[in-house]
């Protein structure tokens, strides 16, 4: 499908586009990179000119026990939400990519992607109403339920792209050779899909880790890290602490994403090759 020669436009236009692409990357990255830059700046004001190098904001962050509690909460929710959404997504993605078309396939796919089209604030308040109606106190569990919901579409998309192009005759061969369904899954399907599972675990963890809106409504007193940061943003003198924390989070999530994409691409030939999450 892809012909190697340039099929569109002139060379002149090509140079203009390259310049535009680089400018666009600058627009995407410069705002984000200001956070790490100012996090080493020796001033409470986030302003130019830079006042000199310091690591005191990182030291302050390391001493902030309230922040540690929030971080711990976020890690717990993120781990649980990524595990659960990946397990649910794995089963659903398998069903959605089977050779024999699943009855109601469109409905299943639409229903699992629906949460992408509902504003997060609406998901937050709807779950808040449900949980208070049932009469359960708000906690990390309620946040976790909301996070599994918003993580599920990502898990399914990532895992479906892994299952597509999966040779189902391998499973048939395994069954013909006398393995039961469970052992076939464990010894044939699982190793092949493993990169997809790892990518899904990493990406859903990031979705949960970064979520503010749903946790804002559902966390009760179990503050998660984004809710904690949002609270801090109201106090100007606390901003540098948020900068250090923000810089650390940005770098950690960029590394996780790059890792997830790299793992997902390992050995992913054929249909899954040029695909990127969300596409």
């Amino acid at each position: 499908m892809l012909s190697p020669e340039r099929v569109e436009g002139s060379k002149h236009e090509g140079r203009g586009l390259t310049v535009y692409a680089v400018a666009y990357l600058a627009f995407l990255y410069i705002p984000v990179l200001l956070l790490p830059l100012f996090s080493f700046n020796d001033s409470v004001f986030i302003a130019f000119p830079l006042r000199g190098f310091t690591t005191k904001w990182y030291a302050a962050m390391a001493a902030d026990t309230e922040m540690h509690a929030a971080l711990w909460n976020t890690l717990k929710v993120g781990t649980a939400a990524s595990l659960l959404s990946t397990i649910l997504g794995l089963l659903a993605a398998k069903a959605l990519t089977q050779a024999a078309p699943l009855p109601g396939r469109g409905f299943v796919l639409g229903f699992s992607n629906l949460s992408l089209f509902i504003p997060e604030i609406v998901i937050g308040i709807a779950l808040l109403i449900l949980i208070t109606t049932v009469g359960v106190p708000l906690s990390l569990t309620s946040v976790g339920i909301g996070h599994v919901l918003i993580c599920l579409p990502f898990a399914i998309l990532v895992l479906m792209s892994r299952f597509e192009g999966f040779d189902t005759s391998l499973e048939e061969a395994s069954r013909d050779l006398g393995e039961n369904a469970w052992m076939t899954f464990w010894r044939v399907t699982f190793p092949i899909v493993l990169p997809g599972i790892i990518a899904s675990l990493l990406l859903t963890f990031i979705v949960s880790f970064d979520d503010f809106m749903i946790a804002f409504f559902l966390c009760g007193t179990d503050t998660t890290l984004p809710v904690y940061i949002f609270g801090e943003l109201r106090f100007p003198y606390k901003l540098p602490n948020v900068l250090a924390l923000g810089a650390a989070i940005l770098i950690a999530s960029a590394v996780l994403v790059a890792l997830a994409e790299w793992v997902r691409r390992l050995g992913a030939e054929g249909p899954a090759r040029n695909r990127v999450i969300g596409a």
Binding site: I46, P119, A126, I277
Partner: protein, 275 residues
């Protein structure tokens, strides 16, 4: 069978709460008790109060501009990756998606830092001697909301447009060139119409969630940039009128849905006419 666990989960975690939200929108708050009498009073409130209408129209206007700006800025870059980049496609796509996965809250915060009264732009311009006092029009207005959202939703525009451009059969472009179309006419008559599904997909993926955005108007919008989500949040917070909040959420979602569907139909019709 295998999809059953996910479906059961979605019934309890998505269908049930959305159903309850709908029911709540027909109730009334009576002090600290919910009156279980079904009534349309909340909707009457939503549709007659002028302040609510202003806020809703402003949200739709801001999101429309955001959609237009984001798609317009993203199209050339998606085109670039699909047609110009040969070997490093994956690297480019990764570079373009990484910011999308990093904390949304922190990206909004970054814009607050940039546009603020003592922020990066103002302090930068002052220390360069270009201005003598801070520009006040940068932060706390609808433009700041548009800029921040256009930055935050970039990946939602780039990826769908890239996918639709990548799918275009290159021999169609060669055929158009052989038949005498110049690069510009060929783009208008072949490339652009064939990438329309990506453009529409991107538009909906941006327009729908941005109308309901809470973080950006709260942090960079100021009083002129308040949007419908702020009004909904207040009903579940300070004002404590959940039924009104539910009615506001349901009616704005319905209105946004109708606008999105109408937009897609209109776009399809106009393209059918060009062809």
């Amino acid at each position: 069978m295998l999809a059953l666990p996910a479906m059961i989960f979605l019934v309890f975690a998505l269908a049930a709460p959305m159903g309850l939200l709908l029911i709540y929108s027909f109730l009334t708050e009576n002090g600290f008790v919910i009156d279980a009498h079904m009534t349309l009073a909340q909707y009457a409130n939503v549709f007659t109060r002028e302040g609510y209408r202003t806020l809703f129209l402003r949200s739709v206007a801001i999101s429309s501009v955001v959609t237009l700006v984001t798609v317009g800025l993203a199209y050339p870059i998606a085109y670039f990756v699909a047609f110009r980049v040969q070997r490093a496609k994956f690297t480019w796509l990764l570079l373009l998606t990484i910011p999308f996965w990093t904390s949304y809250l922190l990206r909004v915060f970054a814009w607050k830092v940039i546009l603020g009264f003592n922020g990066a732009i103002n302090s930068g311009l002052i220390s360069l001697g270009l201005i003598s006092k801070p520009l006040e029009f940068l932060l706390y207005n609808p433009t700041a909301v548009v800029v921040t959202l256009a930055h935050a939703y970039a990946a939602f525009a780039i990826l769908p447009i890239y996918v639709s451009l990548e799918k275009i059969d290159r021999s169609l472009l060669e055929a158009a060139a052989d038949l005498g179309d110049g690069p510009f006419r060929r783009f208008l008559r072949v490339t652009l119409p064939l990438s329309l599904p990506g453009i529409l997909g991107a538009a909906v993926l941006i327009f729908v969630p941005t109308t309901g955005d809470y973080v950006t108007p709260t942090l960079v919008g100021g009083s002129d940039g308040v949007m419908i989500a702020n009004l909904i949040q207040v009903q579940f917070g300070r004002v404590n009128n959940w039924p009104l909040g539910a009615a506001l959420a349901i009616s704005s979602m319905a209105a946004v849905g109708i606008i999105a569907v109408a937009f897609i139909q209109a776009a399809r019709l106009s393209v059918a006419r060009i062809k």
